[in-house]
Amino acid sequence: MSLEPTVRDALQLRMRERGVTRVNVELDGEQVTLWLRDGALLERCTCGGEGCEHLHHAASLLDGSAPSTSLGAVELRARGRASVPSGTLASLADALDEVALSVVRAGLAHTDSPSIQRAMAQLLEAQGEHVPLPLGRFVGRLTDALAAADASAVARLLDGALRFAERLRRDDVSPEAVAQRRAWLGPAGGGAPGSRADLSLLELAREWVTGCDRAAIERRYLLDLATGELACEERLRGAPDVSVGPCPRALTVAFAEVEEAARPARLRLLQYTLTLRIGDAQWAQAVALADRELAAVRARCRRDLEAAPALAEPCVWFAPEGPPDGDTHALRDALGEVLPLAGAHGDDQAARVLRALAESDVLAGVFGRLVDGDSGLALHPLSAVVRRGATHALYRLR
């Protein structure tokens, strides 16, 4: 049952009068978002329901009236509970084991095997209607790796899944274990996220990656201009519960939640302002923070993969020495070490675009994800920053 028109109108007016464009209210493990667009009030709840009890309670909180029902009296959809029943975790562990076993038994030469399909389906069915985004991403990566018969990627994903399953069975409730559960399951993993405050971030790239469906997850990559750390923000296609704005954008974040166990760390920006007016000083600062030596990149990549085996998708903000090589499509660092470009299409397309950009401007930085192939690390480039005299410009490659 949607909001009463009088309640909606009053809320709309109050928000407009006070210059509030968006409000997030968290209750009972769900988040209700109310926002203004073209003067009209829109609402969404992470439970997925239309006109749900969470919405009514959030509205009553904001307008100071008493809620019509008690949340405890209402049957809620099973999502984002404060603590996760151990039975649920045990069945998740079993499902992950089953996926790993079915793949290794059938082999990469037979990825269309019914046992693999069945195991994957069971893993998703166990999550109900709302598959947690990180788990969906794991499934998407595994599906892509199986389709490509990529032994390295499959091994890393399944090995990480088995380690996680083992930990689930131990019923470990240490902060580290809970953080890892949240890294896999999001709020459905229980516990509480970490937090960060007073951040100055620059979005360097965004891409759509495979989840349960193709191009289901949008990921935005953020550079901390104070520390050089990379983080990301993610959303499902069509979902509004994420910060707004194009890429690139400069963000001043007063408060954000963070899943530290994810690699890169996963942020949820709750209080922020943004601008598209990105000054050259900010770009210069960003470029100064780029990695210039691949040895450090490799070491950090290895640490990330060890810390979050099946989930880590290490990325790098890299300042190459010149454009990609014409024959091998490789970038080089200051010491002459190579970082080849990789991607779904061999990335001679991205290499050509980068070379074209470098013809008229200086290639100041390339951002991308690191992929671990048979011959070592390669870069899946997502964006490039070029320098034209004293100014900079960002160019999205994907």
Partner: protein, 592 residues
């Protein structure tokens, strides 16, 4: 056993699978005592990851191209019908000494022929090269005349932006219009950039781009390549719904306004729409992305094509691939031309413009003779793009005999394209009387038998109306114009002036009625006059928009059907495109 060999063994085991009896050798290599599959699987995966982790910290050896994972060779288009002629091999630019390319061509008549008959990339290159040639002070007078004559009749919306540079150096009305358009777009862009910045900083609530009218938005995006990064980033955010979910109609309107943008900065966002598989949006994204000259376009289109299953989508993606030179969809598109679903048939007809060949001419000619003028126009357009001489005679007859302005215009344009193609092949059109461009400005209605006194009275009433207008008494002016029209029923000028006045104050109902009366008297004259036909087209569009808002879709579609029957070659590309786009939307909605 050597380290690399062990990794290779592990990979082989993973590829082959361990179903059935576990190889004791494998168990030994994995150093696991347990014999069950679970334990072996765990050990195998852990061992493989450990090997890979060890390799991570070592510097990479110089890679060979073959090592690049998932390499797919860059696509090199092959001429579809093995066109061995000059045009079939003509590159847009070349660094090879002695190799012909559009960028190095000097001969103006040849460039003009390529401008009409070449592929999209060739036509664009020809437009750019012509702009450079027009800057040559030694250019021959005949060449200038040829350019002016061709540009006077060329209304290729795909080249609208590229032709601006040429128009800017040509004399006359076209140049003034081009300069004025550029100025208007610059002002709009500057204002919009400010509003976009304010919007994202929370100073403005309403998103500014979608508040523009459809034709204004299309006009702006036709000049995307000149727009600031900030505006393009904003457009990309809208395409990817980073402002929050948007309704389907709005998204379609946005994507269709990007159809001729041709800006590489849009590729990632458009590619994401292709990857999303969201039906009607995929069609619009395909149309837009295929017009962008960028190496990332073809792989994105191929991926989407291989995954698509819905007919209309599959055809649109096939057409998009054809536009970049990949004609894999040709047979499929041909088969859909016989579809009983009218919408699919129309899509197939349009798709043949990029994947069609000479063998398709008879089938398309049959459609060109259809009673439905929209279908006939589309078929004529397709024949022009296929550019085979077999259709020439029939098209010339159609151009001479068509009563509907839009059909005649499409047929004339197709004849010109085919003629240009034949010239580039070294052939000449034979046995065909090419139609002279319709310059018939005489009134279509037989002049009324009026006395001299009656004509003078009508003129006096008209001039009185103009005087009232100067004095600001619009109502009195309108009354005088109506009186003048009644006094002299064969005279369209008072009707046109009155209609324009009504349109200026957004009274499109009155304006429409008067424009219709004027068209019944002097249709060809109005079609030949760029300012007049622009007013007419805009009036029809605005009235259709009003009716659409009121939910009277059938009438709205009828109005657009009516205006699409006119020769709209002198209407600005953005306006013409918006009329076509709305018409298609209403048709798909089942309006009427």
């Amino acid at each position: 056993m050597h380290e690399p060999a062990r990794r290779a063994d592990l990979v082989r085991s993973l590829r082959q699978g361990i179903a059935g009896t576990i190889d004791p050798d494998l168990r030994a290599r994995l150093a696991t005592d347990e014999g069950d599959h679970r334990a072996v699987a765990r050990a195998l995966l852990a061992a493989l990851v450990a090997r890979d982790d060890a390799g991570l910290t070592a510097p990479r050896a110089e890679p060979r191209a073959a090592e690049i994972p998932g390499a797919r060779t860059s696509f090199v288009p092959v001429p579809q019908d093995a066109d061995g002629s000059f045009l079939g091999h003509l590159k847009t630019r070349s660094d090879v000494a002695g190799e012909q390319s559009v960028a190095s061509m000097s001969d103006v008549p040849t460039l003009l022929a390529v401008l009409r008959a070449g592929s999209l990339l060739q036509r664009r290159a020809a437009a750019r090269r012509l702009a450079a040639r027009l800057g040559d002070p030694d250019l021959a007078v005949e060449d200038w005349r040829a350019v002016i004559e061709t540009f006077g009749t060329l209304r290729d919306v795909e080249l609208a932006y590229d032709l601006l540079a040429c128009h800017a150096v040509l004399p006359g009305e076209a140049s003034r219009e081009a300069t004025e358009t550029r100025r208007e777009v610059r002002e709009m862009a500057t204002r919009l950039t400010r509003e976009v910045l304010d919007y994202w900083e929370g100073d403005v609530e309403a998103e500014p781009l979608m508040r523009l009218s459809g034709d204004a938005r299309t006009q702006l995006m036709l000049h995307a390549r000149d727009l600031d990064d900030v505006l393009l980033w904003h457009v990309c955010a809208l395409v990817e719904e980073a402002c929050g979910p948007s309704d389907l109609a709005n998204q379609r309107a946005l994507l269709s306004s990007l159809r001729y943008a041709s800006d590489p900065r849009l590729v990632p966002s458009l590619a994401s729409v292709l990857a999303s598989g969201a039906g009607p949006l995929v069609i619009e994204a395909a149309r837009a992305i295929s017009r962008i000259e960028d190496p990332r376009v073809w792989p994105a289109l191929v991926d989407a094509y291989e995954r698509s299953v819905i007919e209309a989508e599959h055809i649109a993606l096939g057409a998009a691939l054809g536009r970049v030179g990949d004609v894999r969809a040709a047979d499929y598109v041909r088969s859909q031309l016989a579809s009983e679903d009218e919408a699919v048939k129309v899509r197939a007809l349009e798709a043949l413009r990029t994947v069609g060949s000479a063998d398709d001419v008879p089938a398309v000619l049959a459609i060109a003779r259809a009673k439905d003028p929209v279908l006939a126009s589309k078929a004529a357009h397709t024949l022009g793009r296929i550019s085979d001489g077999r259709g020439l005679a029939d098209l010339a007859r159609l151009a001479a005999s068509a009563e509907v302005g839009s059909v005649r215009a499409a047929a004339e344009e197709a004849v010109a394209q085919i003629g240009a193609r034949l010239v580039l092949r070294g052939e000449e059109p034979t046995g065909v009387d090419l139609p002279v461009s319709s310059a018939d400005v005489t009134q279509t209605l037989a002049p009324a038998n009026l006395t001299f006194g009656e004509r003078v009275r009508a003129l006096r009433l008209y001039l009185t109306g103009r005087l009232w207008l100067v004095l600001g008494a619009t109502e009195r002016a309108l009354a005088r114009f109506e009186d003048a029209a009644q006094s002299r029923p064969d005279w369209s000028l008072p009707l046109i002036v009155a209609a324009t006045l009504y349109a200026a104050r957004d009274d499109f109902v009155q304006a429409l009625a008067l424009f219709r009366r004027a068209l019944s008297l002097s249709r060809v004259r109005i079609e030949q006059s760029p300012p007049l036909i622009r007013h007419v087209a805009r009036c029809f569009l605005r009235r259709a928009e009003q009716l659409e808002r009121d939910g009277r879709l059938a009438i709205a579609r009828g109005l657009l059907d009516e205006v699409l029957r006119l020769d709209l070659r002198r209407v600005p590309s953005s306006l013409r495109f918006e009329i076509g786009r709305r018409h298609e939307t209403l048709r798909l909605m089942g309006g009427g």
